[in-house]
Amino acid sequence: MAIETRPSAVATPPPTADARILGMICRNCRRAQPIGLSYVCAACFGPLEVQYDYGVAARTFTREAIAARPPGIWRYAELLPLEVPPVRGLPVGSTPLTTADRLGPVLGIERLWLKDDTRNPSLSFKDRAVAVAAARAVEFGVEALACASTGNLAGATAAAAAAVGLPAYVFIPADLEPAKVDQALAYGATVVPVDGTYDDVNRLCLEIADETGWGFVNINLRPFYAEGSKTLAYEIAESLGWRSPDVVVAPVASGAMFTRLARGFEELVELGLIESRPLRFVGGQAAGCAPVATAWAAGTDVIEPVREPDTIVRSLAIGNPADGRYAVQLANESGGSIEAIEDVTTAEAIRDVARLEGIYPETAGGVTLAAAAAARRRGVIRPGDEVVALLTGNGLKTPDARWLGATVGTLDGGRVGPGQPGLTPVIRPSLSAFEAWLEGGAA
């Protein structure tokens, strides 16, 4: 297929005096530039982010106004980088915040809440970021929506593209979990497996994005994409009755969501919707790919990339995280930590939350819960703290991961049969067979 070269930046008119969205600004050198399909500062190569006039936003962004709005991320429209919510798109957000009274004691945490983002439209939190990126992509008139993905983004991008009526191109490491690949295919995406790690895929997509003008949600649409994750903070605060908890625990891959959570809470303070109080941020990474946790433990914010990630936690297997240094800084400045979790511990945490709370997260959720326990042991989480843990993806996407290190509780001594692990032996369809099985110690 020939790749046509298209202009890389499509600019919209400059803001008026009354504008809520002021434009984009470089996070590094603070140089401003107009809103457009661009993501890198022309002066210093730093990342661009969207800049708001919070005074304008505050005029309509009140607790009462928000309460009257329908569910979903667009109830927080004043703090999202679109002039008006999109006409087309999936119903994303307003996921439950549930107490975890049974799991809490297992992790050593008395007051634990779970933010259940396993139930977004494509079964992960990525729907939040992609909804915002896709809406902007439509405005910019891109030919296609695309992404470099560790899996969850593949499904989210493919689903959003289907909803807004754009072709989708999804680039993934060739050895990704089959369930995630199949999900993207189901939504009609063109899935391009790449023989390499996620970081190889990402580097390739940076070059493709530059040459095609396709809307890569996590590359040239990244300033908008990243903003979508802030809605997690808004929803947590609203669910708690407009206040922040003591600790938020979240997975760290690129570090973008982790840092935008903090931004979301800061914005709510700035707009007067919640009180300013200390809030610690704890991040979780898989020990087999933990460049951010390693830097945090070493007391530096210089990230040494991991070349060959070795973990079942594919959704967090980014060896070269763009926002890693900001994630380390956030953990340090807030009094939090970045924890590295072994895969067997991750799998155990998945089994625990599923059997105790009825929520089945994918591997990143297991990392997050284990990170909460690790931060509790470290003393970063203290007795009596109110803790919110983010379960960012659904376990149906990583169906085999939870068995790692498990002793399978079957009647015949833990032997895993030819079918599904964890099942009891097959019984004949008769009451006597059932009774014999029950007497054998099934109950």
Partner: protein, 90 residues
């Protein structure tokens, strides 16, 4: 001469050229020669410590130089150096 691929953000400084050829036996020498040939690139590529700006990732034949020998990585005549923004997200 080795080839350097220039991303769109930097092409103003190279007069629109996507690929330029410069001489050098290490990544450091190639980057230095590039900045001499196109002085407009210096502010974008070079950080305060004289090394590469932390927001710039350099890839020699598609491998991150941090996985090789960094700026001291040897560069041959047929090698291609790509300069890309530090950007990743699952």
């Amino acid at each position: 001469m080795s080839l350097v691929r220039i991303p769109p953000t930097l092409r103003t400084a190279t007069g629109g050229e996507k690929r330029v050829e410069v001489a050098g036996t290490t990544v450091r020498e190639v980057v230095s020669a590039l900045v001499v040939a196109y002085p407009g690139l210096e502010a974008q590529l070079i950080g305060q410590d004289g090394d590469l700006n932390p927001f710039v990732n350099a890839f020699l034949n598609d491998t991150d130089i941090r996985h090789l020998e960094g700026l001291d990585t040897p560069v041959g005549d047929r090698d291609t150096l790509s300069l890309l923004p530090a950007m990743a997200g699952g």
